[in-house]
Subunit: 386 residues, 2 copies
């Protein structure tokens, strides 16, 4: 980060405290306005989920057109993904809850791409066996979120290789020079990496309807390639709604990263791990001493514990607001908030582990035999059936 930049957001790097209003300008996306939220509420006949209410999702491209397509009966579909290079943490799973809400309320198809090829290409130390193993592991976590098994297709690129066929048309459009600009390639980049943007764009062409991608805003540049060429291929430019970053335990700048274990809470962490990590690493907006805090009040804006409650763990709006003011007025100390969050996270993980166990029975459906999955597998020749 140079001294001229206050923050950096690229698909491979998030640094500094992000000013999300500035980011919308830089990226040329649209703010998710109150009008659009109201429209969402009307069309779904539902209360907004906290992700929208509290503007964790804050920006979009063509989400207005998605709602219009829905309203006028043309429909749309959802697409998201996961790069399986290790165990999933809380920052990974939360966007899937937003996706689940969208699927449920709009009753639409959802495609989840597990990029075991991408992680194999981009992580020198991982074998294909490794990324496939993580794929199966991560899929259990994703299925545990609870998607409609007949309208969800989860696929691994190295297995659902029809993705290669679907990638051909866009792979004929995108030049090395364009891919380099978006992905930061150089002369030494491997040809697998260079091709990957085509594989990533392919699911946006799975249906001749508008595709909506819920994802963190740093992923937006990837979809610009798709948007540049989609119409010339006879498809819609993909739409997206963008979330902010789920902050690492250690501070509200950057994003939670699996490569720095102290910044993240894993879905497999034990209650003791959770307790220890939040206690030891969670960055708060507290003052140097309890006395000072009682006098001046805390700074919830800078507090990771508060952010986690705001984004996901305190669904009750009233309670969240009370906590905010109690902190500001110095009525509560950081230890109390940490304990509260710890309890919420442990409960969430507990429930997640139970649902993950049940997910084992559903995996086959979303991967192979469910309504959407079997349709996807059957749509091309798959060898002799005897």
């Amino acid at each position: 980060m140079t001294s001229l930049e206050d923050f950096i957001v690229t698909p491979w790097e998030v640094e500094g405290v992000v000013d999300y209003r500035k980011l919308i300008e830089r990226f040329g996306t649209q703010p998710l306005t109150d009008d659009l939220l109201k429209k969402t509420q009307e069309l779904t006949k539902s209360e907004l989920p906290i992700f929208l209410r509290r503007k964790f999702f804050f920006s979009h491209r063509d989400y207005d057109l998605v709602l219009k397509d829905y309203e006028e009966g043309r429909g749309f579909f959802l697409y998201t993904g996961r790069g399986p290079s290790g165990p999933m943490h809380i920052g990974h799973i939360i966007p899937f809850y937003m996706t689940k809400w969208l699927q449920e309320k709009f009753d639409v198809n959802l495609y989840i791409q597990i990029t075991d090829d991408e992680k194999f290409f981009f992580k020198p130390e991982l074998t294909l066996e490794d990324t496939r193993k993580w794929a199966l592991d991560n899929i259990l976590d994703i299925v545990a979120v609870g998607f409609n098994p007949d309208k969800t297709f989860i696929f691994q690129d190295s297995e659902f290789t029809k993705i290669y066929e679907m990638a051909l048309p866009i792979a004929k459009k995108v030049t090395f020079s364009t891919a380099r600009a978006v992905f930061g390639f150089n002369e030494q980049s491997k040809i697998g990496m260079i091709f990957f943007p085509a594989i990533q764009a392919a699911p946006t062409f799975f249906e001749r309807r508008r595709c909506l991608i819920p994802a963190a805003i740093d992923q937006d540049p990837y979809w610009r390639i798709q948007r540049d060429y989609a119409e010339s291929l006879g498809y819609y430019k993909t739409a997206a709604i963008h979330s902010k970053f789920f902050p690492p335990l250690t501070g509200i700048s950057g994003k939670m990263s699996a490569s720095k274990p102290e910044t993240a809470i894993y879905l497999t962490d034990s209650p003791e791990d959770v307790k220890r990590k939040i206690w030891k690493f969670a960055f708060t907006g507290g003052r140097a001493t309890a006395k000072e805090q009682r006098e001046k009040g805390g700074e919830p804006e800078k507090c990771v514990v508060f952010k986690w409650l705001e984004i996901f763990f305190e669904p009750d709006d009233k309670k969240l607001e009370e906590r905010y003011w109690a902190c500001k007025r110095g009525e509560i100390l950081c230890g109390e908030c940490k304990a509260y969050l710890t309890e919420k996270v442990i409960k969430f993980l507990d429930e997640h582990k139970r649902k993950r166990k049940d997910a084992e029975k559903v995996v086959d459906k979303v991967k192979y035999t469910g309504g959407l999955a079997s349709k996807m597998w059957e749509s091309t020749y798959q060898g002799p059936r005897r």
Copy 2:
């Protein structure tokens, strides 16, 4: 071609009269020696085919090791291919006869890759539907050559997409810079093109035995990438035997090209087409006048008609030699040789068309249901079977 170069051979350009001995040095391949041919004869307990007898195949990489592997029971397999961008001509089909001989005599598996993806990427004017149409058309011509339907697998990349999975390991090794050096890419090359070398190399990893590729020598650079990385991936460096170029009707420099119709005889040409093309375009070693030819004799070394007889159309060694000397001594004129070749070519095409008709019944076997084909399709998950 600069004035310093007497000929050029790259995968995308053949110009000038090729000095094949020099080419062996330039490319760093090995000459196909009499010892190797003798060994081939011994192991196959067969007479050598004219392609070997007359050194149309003249160079190799590791063919000696292939024979050793065969002799010692480790075996090997064959791999060749075809880029389906239009109708096949005689220059395209002849190498398949060499491949057929090898399969028959060594009784080995043969994989034939139909690169409908490559031709789609590299030919701006062709759609995927076009290259797939040509794939089906060309496969009929190839099957007509008569391969063992239970030991041959013919596949289109856009359909047998498992090829993508097989390409992943090498796609993680090859850099843009390497691919550019071999394929002549630049900044504006499409990412599909850049990835294609990985797809082309993938079939050499279909079996953990040595792979033997029969191909024209201009294709050799493609396999250098495979040879650079194969051993680090736990496979053999691929072996190859290299042919000279089948000369265009219009002269012995360059190679027959589908984009210059007058230089080629297509497998679909009628007897009238053949007659007209050979009469009108065939470049001979004849003199300016019949009188001069009778006095000085012709120059069979420069004569395309003689070359075609030598490479394929005159299987009788004695007759070929007699013709050579009769020409040298001015005893025959070009018209006579042209008429002789015309008759041979018409007969060949006639038979080819008949075998092509029968091939329709075999296509399903070599693509899907035959011994080798069904094994290839069944080796990964292919969706729910109901």
